[in-house]
Symmetry: C2
Subunit: 116 residues, 2 copies
Amino acid sequence: MGVMARAATTSDAFNAIAEPQRRDILMLLRAGERPVTDLAQELGMSQPGASKHLRVLREVGLVRVREVGKQRLYGLDADGLRPVREWVGGFERFWNESFDRLDTYVQDLKQARQED
Amino acid sequence: MGVMARAATTSDAFNAIAEPQRRDILMLLRAGERPVTDLAQELGMSQPGASKHLRVLREVGLVRVREVGKQRLYGLDADGLRPVREWVGGFERFWNESFDRLDTYVQDLKQARQED
DNA sequence: CCATCATATTCCCATATCGGCATGTGACAA
DNA sequence: TTGTCACATGCCGATATGGGAATATGATGG
């Protein structure tokens, strides 16, 4: 049994979207399916680079591939974002509270000004 | 100047929440401020481990520290999740569409069965 | 079959990252 | 001041990761 010096590889959606370039790919794919070379060129990355990122995205279910002739068209599978969406959603109420706090702060400022 | 073999370190919210343990910390903090040792114990991690994760979370603005006596109370700063929330929000419509696609698929299945 | 286009994979390097452990540091109490 | 508590930091080992370059694979056309 090997020494576990690092937590098990987090190959999930959270990990996949931690990479800016992978986020870029996903955003591009909102406009529709695209072949690899297209993506690489559009995003200024090498073809192998694009392929590697796409592999990660595919493995976590964020994109789908469809083979058309020589090409492989990659398409968005937004359902893969569900875990992220749900996790972030769990903070919704705090998100609002921070606005409340800001509001309170502003109110305090106004009051302080009036007291001058 | 060294060789840039990896993209500039992504020290942003996306990166911070890519770690399961850090997500756990944030979720725990929804219940209120907590000292480091508390968090470590509750989540079954070492004190240094907790401190390091908290440092990352602090650096990307996901938590705040408040010093009280010997202790340092860490509190949630949900506003730091805004970039993630907004990015994911950009896929809202595809999220719905995927349901539509599933629905279409199911309809197709029904039709295929009837044609047998 | 052979050449070519599109894409995937492999190898290598440099670096980032996590965990454990030991140690440093700052506040408070005796 | 000295001891202790709560926490941060430093160092190390193992591993994960991204980019570049070269190469393999797979489908298509001739």
